[in-house]
Symmetry: C2
Subunit: 553 residues, 2 copies
């Protein structure tokens, strides 16, 4: 209640200020800093039990703030989970899914035609109302065509890329991914922004760190409340680190990337303290989806005790590391068992700014301030979608799987080249692309989202329907989803009695958005992003041939 | 160095004191408190990433002391690992193994004929030299026949049992396990010391706690340095907790047991502070082997990200939670990556007492004081034995498996009654016993030491030899042992070059002890322990029929 009252006061003062009443020294709403990792797993931080314990800054952040062991993303894949964070809505509502195949994962590779619809209200658009200046540093991933540009969706500044840093490409069959500063491209990965696939060296995290520090300093000097979305990607394959961090981790290159990120988070929090704005800056650290076990152990992280990883709706795919930090407000050293969601960051940020979430649409995010400030626990379900399929639901300690699928037998058994990104060849034929740094690793073992984890009847390689008799796990006793409850037990029946009405209510009220990830077209790739002419780097797009995207898993 | 000098001073003062020179207020060597858990896994504490985070006292102990993420037991089973702790020697040296079958696990059930040989020097025997009073509370497990009694091996006091708390038995085919106070039995489990298998209620942890608190208070009052070996067993199936803890954990009954233990450790540390002896008491917390996944999730714990559990030589079977606490000496909040061993507790305890380890025998334990006090790291291998077979060796980050085996196909596939303890029936025929609380759980899934974890070519159900080309894992990148290094890689060759000479040296110098766990005999069971006559509880032993024990895995 105290927080809400304060927020209302900020709003009022902002209105007065905007009306020219010249309120000097008016209290500002807190700055908001969302640190979003890429493919980092629940088990990658020391505070979550990573045996090498190489994240002293993040562990300290947790000790000074609140740790959420039960925090979830909204999708086991990058683009949909990022859309969910910025809209506060399940990807099925915002259109970040495909209907090309049941339960297929989809995202925004270069050839995707869709992106974030104009009808969606993004967090930075709404924060403008409260006077915030917003910047995104790093990966956008909500569509790369002009209408989807982050500065058209509320951000005031951008430094980063619209797609994953896969590559290098030849700029003929496929262009390298551009790096933007605000409206215009300032270079491309593997060209002006080198990534050495052999050594793993890249300076990108340092560049992203500097962008964050500069932005914070500028906004502080200008007395603007700010929203910084620091969406860095060093832990997404191909993982990278700058030279001072390469070879320093006990965990290999993936660990080097984590160490550099940890060091960077330490520097950001240190700056906030140095500028004396720590107590007026809310910081949240989380990841977009579980660790990509398909890239482990050299290029993928750890999901701790949880089953499987990225691409799956088991806990390893969707439970995330999560730390809230706001000195003087969030009590230090707390652990909250609130079931949290990446979508809560939308609603919570609005609440911090003294704003209400939009009332004209379904919002799935909760305001976590009562949890963080007063330790309140709110009962709420977690929905695990894969594409257009509701795969599972958690309520309290019980998780019910209505569908199980890891990836197809064909992919799992495949010993040749493996799909990582998909699209069309220069010849226009549909085929699967392989990111060039992977073949040696993957040729030996097919596509496996659950390496070394095989739970009979659970990690299925065909899509198995359990809608009549869901597979139910007690996540407190069995966080690894290895021991389904007996369907003959009263516990099973009790669990279903809790979950079934929640699912019915959700499905009855659900209005899916127009699917954005169905259509691909080589002509829409990053051939000639704005600014390319200044760099002399415009490429000629091929003929436009829209086609259904093929999503293999 | 400072510690060693101090220890020497204590010895000198003790000698002076013993010589009647009447040194008053002479500094005492520190008290030693070894808290040994039973079947608790690496992943069971909040500080090791257990998602429910229900161990605030142990987490605080770690924050005030030193955490060892790379700490190992000496055997994946109870009796041999306990022998290793108290002798500082691998079980193959002390005789705590069987030769009845290659790589078979063996321990001390009621029908075992062997036990700790008189020729072994146990920690409490040696600590007497430095004036310590020693007590063991809880499970002894080094043989239950008269010659193996803990008070014949250096302990001054005992409250607890010689074997596991399996039961209830009928006292005809098999007696219930006795509970001793010092030399005599004071009752039996399921009789004077009830364990309710249905509800999980038992007061044993509270009794063991009280024994510890009373002993500490008495020794403090008497100004005696003390060694307390608190070897409790609530987390060994059948897991139990007292009524105030039952139903309080998010993790079910196993978690209730952990919560009661955590609370008890908190009370013990609190007493040390209250008595102002915290700075003169070295406390170490660890477990005898990995979590028993065969009993999970209702009666077994978590090994976090590690592979398999108890009974196996994968990390889940042998990597242990480990916390050292000694306020004012061990700096707070440290993490040490020293490869530590349960056998180090022997050597370290001697060092604390100012004593040298025996020179007439091989001692495997290191003195960890330089690690704990000065942060020193010592290169040392870890040997993973299963019975008489050296299954694996770790050196630095590399672990080489020379043999792999989880359990036989026959056991794994078995759908009927499953072995938990083994022995002979009343009829004298050899057969496998089933602890009566397990059938419903186990009937459905055979004997599985790696439920939900199946790494092709690694978790093998036949004994697979890899002595020529070991399976090698990098435990930093791949703590879960899921991705063997390619035998064609230079990294593989480099790792072997480091490990091979260590193994050769170990095997050339090894003198195995006389195997203690080969012979069983129903006549040696706990029919008439000393003191039974006072209670009117002496039972008649059957005819003596020595036979080879059968160890199924």
């Amino acid at each position: 209640m105290a927080a809400v009252a304060a927020a209302t006061r900020w709003r009022l003062l902002l209105v007065l200020s905007a009306a020219g009443l010249g309120v000097t020294g008016a209290p500002q709403p807190p700055n908001i800093l969302l640190l979003l990792m890429d493919d980092m797993g629940w088990g990658d931080l020391g505070v979550y039990g990573e045996p090498s314990r190489e994240t002293p800054n993040l562990d300290r952040m947790a000790a000074e703030g609140m740790l959420f062991p039960n925090f979830y993303t909204a999708n086991p894949l990058c683009s949909p989970s990022r859309a969910a964070l910025l809209t506060g809505r399940l990807p099925i509502r915002s259109g970040f899914y495909t209907t090309n195949g049941h339960a297929r994962n989809a995202y925004t590779p270069q050839e995707i035609v869709g992106g974030i619809p104009d009808s969606e209200l993004l967090l930075p658009e709404l924060l403008k109302e409260a006077g915030y200046t917003s910047k995104i540093v790093g990966k956008w991933h909500l569509g790369h065509r002009p209408q989807f540009h982050p500065l058209k969706h509320g951000f005031d500044e951008w430094f980063g890329s619209p797609n994953c840093h896969f590559g290098p490409y030849d700029n003929k069959a496929r262009p390298n991914i551009p790096v933007y500063r605000d409206w215009e491209m300032v270079g491309r990965f593997y060209e002006e922004f080198p990534i050495n696939l052999k050594t793993g060296e890249a300076n990108l995290t340092q560049i992203y760190l500097q962008e964050a520090l500069d932005f914070i300093k500028r906004q502080q000097a200008a007395h603007h409340p700010f929203f910084l979305h620091w969406a860095i990607d060093a832990t997404h394959a191909p993982v990278y680190a700058s030279r001072p961090f390469l070879g320093t981790s006990q965990r290999g290159r993936y660990g080097d990337a984590v160490r550099e990120i940890d060091d960077s988070v330490g520097k950001i929090l240190h700056l906030l303290r140095d500028l004396s704005i720590a107590e007026n800056t809310f910081v949240f650290f989380t990841s977009d989806n579980g660790a990509a076990l398909i890239s482990a152990p050299r290029q993928g992280g750890s999901n701790g005790p949880f089953l499987c990883g990225k691409q799956t709706t088991f806990e390893g795919g969707m439970r995330e590391p999560a730390i809230a930090w706001w000195p003087g407000h969030i009590p230090a050293g707390q652990v909250s068992h609130q079931l949290g969601s990446i979508m809560d960051l939308f609603t919570t940020s609005l609440s911090l700014a003294g704003l209400e979430p939009p009332r004209d649409r379904a919002i799935d995010g909760l305001d976590l301030l009562p949890t963080m400030l007063q330790g309140r626990l709110t009962d709420r379900p977690v929905f695990y979608y894969r594409g257009n399929a509701l795969m599972a639901v958690t309520r309290g300690q019980y998780k019910a799987h209505f569908w199980t699928w890891t990836n197809s037998w064909e992919e799992f058994r495949q010993l040749g080249l493996q799909p990582l990104t998909q699209g069309s060849t220069a010849q226009g034929r549909r085929r699967i692309y392989l990111a060039p740094h992977f073949p040696a690793l993957l040729r030996s073992r097919g596509v496996d989202f659950c390496p070394g984890q095989n739970v009979s009847g659970v990690t299925t390689h065909s899509q198995e329907e359990h809608t009549k008799l869901p597979l139910v796990f007690h996540l407190g006793r069995d966080p690894g989803e290895r021991f389904p409850l007996s369907i003959a037990s009263t516990e099973y029946l009790d669990a279903l009695r809790q979950i079934t009405p929640v699912v019915r209510q959700h499905q009855e009220a659900l209005v899916p958005g127009q699917p954005q990830l169905n259509v691909c077209n080589r002509a829409v790739m990053n051939w000639a992003p704005p600014g390319c002419e200044k760099l002399g780097k415009c490429l000629m797009p091929p003929e436009s041939v829209p086609e259904k995207c093929s999503w293999p898993h």
